[in-house]
Symmetry: C2
Subunit: 424 residues, 2 copies
């Protein structure tokens, strides 16, 4: 029975029953963390062979540079080849970074802020600077723009990606809008892949600001949860067709392919962008960890092998996403107190509770020992205007713990929903 159709008496009964279940859980003294999209131990084990690739004693990059020494600011050639394939650019359109694409994004914003882009004024001298933020989105993106005092404007997500009508209108009108954060394939947290039309419209944007950039964080480009994934269009190819190739900065990493703590991050952009960015980058570093770049190249060999490797990840984590969705389907769907995505890739299930319930649900879970991403985190400034979105990260806990955590989660959703409906 839909909870909103219950009368007060039924609701009180439902709430009391749920509360009893909740208190039983609380008594168990759980201690589970589902707050971040961490790979689990079994996933980390998949890349163990990467640690012995140097047993061959060969530390030479294909251009004759010893990867153990200084040099090669933008990466060894073979890493540029491998990772340019991954993010869909050519070898002149790529820079290899350290272990963190977030760090590369921060650096790219910092550079625009302090030095400007392709001859335009530094953003720090532009007065008010704004970014568009499709919501819900990735909290760490929002923190970067907040760090630089950049005003963030929420853009609603649709099943095809962000609301393009709104984006096209805003960027055409307002030259203080300098960028937008996008996770185009399996968006964080909704798991939405941008439609071909959305990518084409992004590629053809005509912003008032010449130094407007799309921050295209393709974090989950090969992180599929099905055998027949839908791959988004190549944004740089589309931008070139539209005579607009400087508009996009592409990011990616192997954090969820090899090791989150010791992967390789990468940035792609037009050659013109890349040439300028490298000049700035060379001020801040001599070279990133080229041994780790070569480790990745020796381990994978080709991008095709990297994609094969991802199937092993899928085998481990797809069942976990099943557990989350099945539990919600069984326990929440009949009550009409929430909606969620069933993602075909990425790292999250995005759950929308009844308006005004997200914080309470996260609080209830926390008090019973399960830590979720803070409610509101998926919005700029941590403010979810409807207080309804919760990001569920199922990959890290073992299956048993995940089941237990989801049992608790649905109880908390029920309890918070009943409380809300009773208070109305």
């Amino acid at each position: 029975m839909n909870l909103s159709e219950m009368n007060k008496e039924q609701l009180i009964g439902f709430k009391n029953e749920t509360e009893a279940l909740y208190n039983d859980f609380k008594a168990q003294g759980l201690c589970l963390n589902m707050s971040r999209g961490n790979p689990c131990k079994e996933q980390l084990e998949l890349s163990m062979d990467m640690l012995s690739v140097f047993d061959d004693g060969d530390f030479m990059s294909e251009n004759g540079i010893d990867v153990r020494n200084y040099g090669l600011l933008d990466g060894i050639p073979e890493a540029k080849k491998l990772f340019s394939d991954m993010i869909g650019v050519n070898e002149h359109e790529v820079i290899i970074f350290g272990n963190s694409s977030l760090n590369a994004m921060f650096w790219a914003v910092q550079t625009a802020f302090n030095k400007g882009i392709l001859g335009e004024k530094p953003w720090s001298q532009c007065g008010k600077v704004k970014f568009l933020c499709p919501v819900p989105g990735y909290d760490r993106h929002f923190k970067v723009t907040e760090f630089f005092g950049i005003e963030m404007i929420n853009i609603p997500m649709t099943a095809d990606g962000p609301d393009m009508d709104m984006i096209e209108k805003l960027v055409a009108e307002d030259d203080s809008i300098k960028g937008i954060w996008c996770v185009p394939q399996y968006s964080n947290p909704d798991g939405i892949s941008y439609s071909d039309e959305t990518v084409k419209r992004f590629a053809a944007l005509k912003p008032a600001a010449k130094d407007f950039r799309i921050f295209w964080d393709n974090a989950y480009c090969i992180h599929h949860l099905t055998d027949s994934p839908t791959i988004i269009l190549n944004i740089l190819d589309e931008a070139k067709k539209a005579g607009n190739e400087d508009i996009v900065y592409i990011f990616g990493s192997t954090s969820k392919i090899t090791f989150p703590g010791a992967g390789v991050a990468v940035m792609g952009a037009s050659q013109k962008n890349v040439e300028e960015l490298k000049k700035h980058l060379g001020i801040s570093i001599i070279s990133y960890d080229k041994m780790n770049q070569l480790r990745h190249v020796k381990f994978f060999g080709t991008f095709k092998n990297m994609c094969e490797h991802m199937k092993k990840h899928m085998a481990i984590i797809a069942p976990k996403f099943e557990i989350v969705c099945q539990t919600l389907e069984k326990e929440i769907a009949p009550l009409g107190i929430g909606s969620w995505t069933k993602p075909e890739g990425g790292y999250f299930v995005s759950f929308n509770a009844l308006n005004g319930c997200a914080k309470r649900i996260v609080q209830l879970c926390s008090e019973a020992g399960v830590t979720l991403t803070g409610a509101g985190a998926t919005f700029p400034y941590g403010v979810d205007p409807d207080d309804k979105n919760i990001r569920i990260a199922p990959t890290y806990p073992p299956v048993d713990e995940l089941k237990k955590a989801m049992e608790l989660f649905v109880i908390c959703v029920k309890l918070a929903s009943a409380e809300k409906l009773l208070a109305e």
Copy 2:
């Protein structure tokens, strides 16, 4: 015979003889690079065992975190212990970075520039901002401050370190002076270690700017070339005694201990500084490469072992410094056309030619196939007011090549000096 005592005829004879030797060299078609302080292959081989430390299959940090996964922004506890010992701070006064201390320094300046330090206004909002730059110094330091539009003021070096009278006066008078670049142990390029008095005077500085910071780049803290090294005083200890503990940011790395391309960098500062810096750092990265941190910890175990390891480096590179100094002593000293340091550690020999000759010497070497660090690079904006300083980096070339390169170098010094004296 001192070149300046020669008459014109003698000088012409000397020049012609030298020119003939130079042309012989040119005909050999050499191709040697002595431009940067790169360790040589034999030095890189010293750390090969670091690549098998994970054969034990143990990836757990001592606090139970799997180093392969996300987390631990400021480093694993055992790395904080090891590297805090290296730079002379305690475990609450340290942040472990990626593979580049230059990157950590850039980040620290960027943070001060965009966010300010301990409640003071961001430097970007302070109008003119200035840095003091002991000269000659490290070109990459100067490039960082130049990137942010910070005005650089040359400070002469003495045998005890930078001119402290001048520094004390300037920082007391001018609150737009926000920092100073220092390489206190075996300075780059002079190889000068700051005297106890110098360190104490730094520690006791009373700058007009509350957010003045000493950027104490202790890059060569254990990079000795003798068995009885003189170690500089601990700046943070001295600053604490002076009630001035927030004044210094300390940097170090293993770039020239393990691998330049894949070492570990570290920053030390008062706990108050570190706490604030970590808040900012967490915006730009989740964690640096903790696998590489643990690799270093497993390889070295203790700081004492790290110091022992450095003796192996010394055995390889001290003879190369000998070659440089002996060649200069034999070929240049009798002619009175240059002076140089005989460093007890670090990576460079700093050569001072007759005024106005450095660019010409570097050009002559280059045209005969030996690349040196660009003349002027050791000064802010690349401008050596006397055009006399050249940084010689002897570590990378094999002994035979180094001998050859030094033969050529002294010929070029002689030729440029004769040209200069003849033109007067």
